[in-house]
């Protein structure tokens, strides 16, 4: 086959050539060259336009996804596909930084290929590749902060995929770093069969793409750190309450779905931690908690190390719930046995005193454990039981472990029933008040009564010792307290009507529980009840405990001032049994103190020890407070206390608490004179 014109002849004779024609031909030739030059310029411009538009679209596509996504892997997947498709790479692969080895990279499991079969070994090798930290491997391009083009990879020294690259006909590699700050988070590697060096503009576009993807990594790291700090206790670095709640809920649900017992729960509370805080300062307290966390961490690490050898053995998770409360979740077939062994080890680890500021400090722990017997339907029940067991351990003294059992469950159940019944009783008013007379010791004249509540539970009269604690704990006490106050005021009005001219008027002392007294609306309640019943404030008095008085000193001072302004007397009950120092008395605006019966009841004629009582009397009188003693049982006690100058007394010597009717009879029979007929009333 010949090329056109080589041996052929053109069949038409040439036109006669004259000067004019020759000029036109030259002009035509010039025009033709000008056209070709214009076409070349236009083609080049169109190509540049096409290329830059494609690059902009590529970068834009990656940037949009990078800005929308919080999943770096998803963005990498898109980027490697788009770059391969747009720039014509037959294969692209992603390596990510190995989280465990700084500087090392490994295949991310993300690649894109449009190749023939001969490339399969290379693709497989790339998808499995793992590169050690940079100083020891030759693939330096991977650790650069900019895109790098490497030609002749099929013969490159130290490139362990060189042979496979040769088989695949891959000749060059382009690597694009994904940077977050200066950290290389990932590297995209693209392979090509040709050796054309990419333009600088293209490398710049790819650098930008890498930075955009790096932004997704950065956001993910921030989010991870936030999540981590939201779930970590800053002092000890342990998982916090929120993390614990998530973990236990997840474990519990998993076990329930598998129809298996839930993990055992250990609640740990340090005994004596408050003392360390109060005496050595918060810094020492914090140090103690950090040391405790370390001890627990070591115990858990040892247990989990054992698990590594025997994966089915256990899974232990530690957390700090609050203050000095720690918890362990113990999962696995031996969880019950292991949990109890943990408890023993925790006690053991605390036996050695710690030295703090040259002080030997020894704390102990109270530990409660709850095991799942298959009856728990919610995590919160289990948490409650572990907590109850811990409190039970605390109540038994320090360094104790209590496993929640059926007996405790029964107690809890009956406590719950009691509280429910109490609530109903409050609504129905199933209570009665008894009144114990209070006498002036020197004249033996009746001056008032202490109102004492009884629960009319069916046919049984329940004494306060059996329900007041439950009422206080459950909060029912505030309802009950209001009922008592209202009833006592009504009684005061009725009794005033029995002896309207009595001067000074009889006073009914009403016990006010701490929780009731600490209510912000307490004084308001008093005003309302006085208004509602028509009682004169002088006909009633309140008795508050030392505990209530010192819990919130400012609140106490304000409330007592307001009560004083209302003309209501307030006394401090059970004096001598609380925690307040005697000196605190002068800061609390009260009218009288009531010396606890424990100081009086044991005093006998042959074996009397009055020194403490005398000190209390001296102090009270120095502060111009009147003193009431309770628990008077013998004539000896009355004589002695009268001689010491104690103003008032109550007790079985005079009368047990009386029904309202009996008390009324007493008021009528003993208008103003000495108290003489008690035996009849007591026996009656």
């Amino acid at each position: 086959m010949n090329q056109l014109g080589k041996n052929a002849s053109w069949p038409f004779p040439e036109s006669p050539a004259d000067e004019r024609i020759a000029q036109l031909e030259r002009r035509l030739e010039r025009e033709r060259r000008a056209r070709q030059e214009a076409e070349r310029l236009a083609e080049s411009g169109l190509r540049d336009l096409y290329v830059s538009r494609a690059r902009i679209e590529l970068l834009n596509g990656i940037s949009v996804r990078a800005n929308e996504s919080d999943d770096p892997m998803e963005v990498l997947r898109l980027a490697v596909r788009e770059i391969c498709t747009t720039l014509g790479f037959p294969f692209g692969n992603v390596l990510i930084a190995d989280p465990d080895i700084p500087g090392a990279m490994r295949a991310a499991g993300i690649s894109f290929a449009r190749t023939c079969d001969s490339a399969q070994p290379f693709i497989k090798a790339s998808q499995d590749t793992a590169l050690p930290a940079p100083e020891s491997h030759a693939e330096q391009p991977l650790m650069q902060q900019v895109p790098v083009w490497t030609p002749h990879i099929d013969t490159m020294e130290g490139f362990d995929r060189a042979r496979a690259a040769r088989i695949a006909s891959f000749k060059s590699m382009l690597t694009v770093p994904v940077l977050s700050g200066r950290d290389v988070e990932a590297v995209l590697e693209f392979f090509s069969m040709d050796l054309r060096e990419p333009e600088l503009e293209l490398l710049d576009v790819l650098l930008q793409a890498g930075l955009q993807i790096g932004g997704v990594f950065r956001r993910r790291h921030h989010a991870d750190r936030l999540r981590e700090s939201a779930l970590t206790d800053p002092l000890t670095g342990l998982p916090n309450r929120a993390a614990f709640a998530q973990n236990i809920e997840r474990c519990f649900q998993q076990r329930r779905e598998a129809d298996e017992p839930a993990p055992s729960l250990i609640f740990i509370d340090l005994d004596g931690f408050k003392l360390v805080n109060d005496t050595l300062g918060h810094q020492a307290g914090d140090q103690l908690l950090v040391d405790m966390a370390d001890k627990l961490r070591t115990l858990v690490k040892n247990a989990n190390a054992f698990e590594d050898e025997n994966p089915a053995a256990c899974n232990v998770q530690l957390a700090r719930l609050a203050g000095d409360e720690f918890t362990l979740i113990v999962d696995g077939p031996d969880r019950a046995e292991l949990a109890e062994r943990f408890a023993a080890e925790i006690h053991h680890s605390l036996r050695q005193p710690q030295w703090m500021d040259n002080n030997p400090v020894r704390v102990t722990a109270s530990i409660g454990i709850a095991h799942d017997d298959g009856n728990y339907t919610t995590v919160s029940d289990m948490l409650r039981d572990a907590d109850l067991a811990m409190y039970e351990a605390k109540s038994l003294g320090s360094e104790r472990t209590v496993v929640f059992d059926q007996k405790m469950r029964n107690n809890v159940q009956s406590r719950l029933t009691l509280v429910n019944d109490l609530r109903t009783a409050c609504e129905n008013g199933d209570f009665i008040l008894h009144y114990q007379p209070i006498l002036a010791l020197d004249t033996e004249q009746l001056v008032g009564f202490e109102a004492l509540v009884r629960w009319q539970r069916g046919d049984v009269i329940v004494p306060p010792s059996e329900f007041i604690a439950a009422a206080e704990e459950s909060g029912v006490i505030t309802l009950l307290g209001q009922w008592v106050m209202r009833e006592a005021c009504k009684t005061a009005v009725r009794w005033h009507n029995l002896a309207p001219d009595r001067e000074p008027p009889l006073r009914i002392s009403i016990n006010v529980a701490p929780r009731q007294f600490l209510q912000p609306t307490f004084v308001q309640q008093v005003r309302e009840i006085l208004a509602e019943t028509g009682a004169d404030p002088r006909w009633i008095g309140f008795e508050i405990t030392e505990g209530a008085a010192i819990t919130k000193p400012h609140h106490t001072a304000r409330v007592l001032e307001e009560l004083r302004a209302l003309n209501i007397q307030v006394g401090l009950d059970d004096f001598g049994t609380g925690y307040s120092s005697l000196s605190r008395l002068q800061t609390i605006p009260i009218d009288n103190i009531k010396i606890d019966q424990s100081f009086v009841r044991t005093q006998t004629r042959s074996n009397a020890q009055w020194s403490v009582v005398k000190a209390m009397l001296d102090l009270a009188h120095a502060l111009q407070l009147r003193v009431v003693v309770e628990g008077l049982e013998t004539e000896f006690q009355r004589e002695e206390l009268t001689a010491f100058g104690c103003e008032y007394g109550q007790g079985y010597l005079f009368s047990k608490p009386l029904t309202e009717a009996d008390a009324a009879a007493l008021i009528v029979e003993q208008p103003e004179g000495p108290f003489r007929h008690m035996e009849r009333l007591i026996s009656g």
Partner: protein
Amino acid sequence: MFNVLEEVITDAYGPEAWDSLICMAGAEGAYSSLGTYPDSEFHALAAATATLTGQAPADVLQAFGQSALPIMVKRFPLFLEGVDDTRTFLLSLNSVIHPEIRKVFIGTGCPHFKYGVGDDVVQITYHSRRRFCDIAQGLARGALAHFGETAEVSHPECMHEGAEACRLDIRWAA
């Protein structure tokens, strides 16, 4: 393609020959490299050339392909950047040359080639919508000439002869 044909004819026979061909084929005649013109016009020009030179139309197209390659290489040096032999050139058609053509001549439909590769043979199978397989044969020969290689180019399967696809074999002497 029209411009390349113009250049081939003008180089071989002079500008009058091109004018005469346009008259004989009744073609429009004003072609820009960036324009798109009907294939029928190209076929008419090729047929006129065949009539006037006394060659078979297929031979004219093959001869055109062979002459066109050096012209195209001159006009588009990117096509052969980093390419040192015919085999590499042929294997880069899908990945390099056709994408480059699409960048400039937007809307140009380039066929996608399937390759069969042996030690001394490259088989190219493709579906030729425009049925310009003779030009393809010529281009392959032009490439061999460009790289100074000797190989046999054959066209054992052709859509003109009822085959499903066209196949070109380029076989080097072992």
